[in-house]
Symmetry: D2
Subunit: 148 residues, 4 copies
């Protein structure tokens, strides 16, 4: 069952032939493409810029610090899932997401935990995110509800 009552932002993804291995199921590595695609779409929607914008407009980056994936149910070619993006925690210089891949029938395929760190490109040191980022993230976080 889907773990949600409300979803502020979702990224829809169809499982492509080339995402799958000779067993006819999604190949392990490809699930992280789904995660990163969902996150880049979330940045564009919530922060107003994608990863390129972070670098070229704000001279920042948000490298991954820790990722976790639980593989609950195997995705097959032609399946469609929504990747629901929740902000679990906004720290001083870090942000933690939970991203769930859920099918139209409520099947829960994947759960990701992703923590990234805000850094500046001169010095590569962790920094507090700019105020506009912080406001948008907090507003997004407040809007999300998750049941489980």
């Amino acid at each position: 069952m889907s773990p949600y009552t409300d979803v502020p932002f979702s990224y829809r993804r169809r499982v492509r032939w080339g995402d799958c291995d000779p067993e006819g199921m999604i190949y392990t590595v490809r699930v992280y493409d789904y995660l990163l695609e969902a996150l880049e779409a979330w940045y564009l929607k919530v922060l107003g810029l994608d990863f390129g914008g972070l670098k070229y407009e704000r001279h920042m980056a948000m490298p991954s610090v820790r990722q976790e994936c639980q593989f609950m149910k195997a995705l097959k070619p032609g399946c469609e899932v929504d990747l629901h993006v929740f902000v679990e925690r906004l720290g001083n210089a870090s942000i933690s997401f939970i991203v769930d891949a859920v099918g139209d029938d409520g099947s829960h395929y994947l759960r990701f935990n992703h923590t990234a760190c805000f850094i500046t490109l001169d010095g590569f040191k962790p920094v507090r995110p700019p105020d506009d980022f912080r406001e948008n993230i907090e507003a997004y976080r407040a809007a999300g509800k998750r049941m489980t």
Copy 2:
């Protein structure tokens, strides 16, 4: 300039951060993801099934026979292109596509030639495509116009 006056089917693709290399331009290998994504979307639209449907419903496959790519202009993170799919030729057991990646300002980034072969999965021999495929492909081909 875009080589089109009319486009029967296009697949829109945003250049993602992870598609690009340390030079800040699309990495060579990734352009073929764009091609295959466009082709799989075309199959779904025109033939009514994706590559998985070909295998599991029709017990066929369409392996690549020959591909060519001309790199005209470098794609950068955040660019959006339409991949216009033309059917150049439908043979007895093969099909040839021209796929062009064109930006909103008409810039021509990539041109692909792609030839695939229809085969059955029992025997892996080239076969004439089923009549419904042939009709849909010919109708699609008749609708397309390309200037250059």
Copy 3:
């Protein structure tokens, strides 16, 4: 510093240009290619077959159940790392690995935790691994030493 005194099996990997993003550092998704390459090489070495052999010779699979990655230090084009493969636990139907990516100077770049499940391809149910697998895995596990 490297967390090892002894390493039963390592997989050496050079960071390729195409593994890296416009920041000039490894792109998040690619690190899982490193993990899976190391694991497939380990299967071939320790169990005597790769993932294809598992399917075609033993009619089994070992889907991922849970993965975790800690990103300690950024990999850049041309870096070389050894991926040291430790078996943390062999359960009734599951196996857990710790895989560390370590540079020649002892720098610790990545730590992965990977848990997979043994299943049969008729029924896709968890099964106890065959005796020859179990013996080889236990022998490998006994040989490994890790300091931290």
Copy 4:
């Protein structure tokens, strides 16, 4: 049959599980990973630097101009091939390769044509390659023999 009597440089590659699709054969896009891996290894061997070295030490790049691939025989998980790298032509600012993927039994799986252009990173204009590159490439080219 293999098209060679002599091979100056080859890159050996094992077909991995994750390179293959649900048909149990190599997925089209992945063959270009093989090509680029072979080329990057060739640069390191013949020019003394990889693609990162080109950028960071010589302030140059060698973007792809045109690529072609003929798919002769399907690669399956566990196959091993040698990618033989021939220099077909060294132009004023461009270089053209033929790269063949050949099995241990002489089976010819893939033929690539790859043309790249030398550019400088200030201006992104085509340039004549440095003399040391030119000498090494001409020497390599003279050593190669191909029958077909």
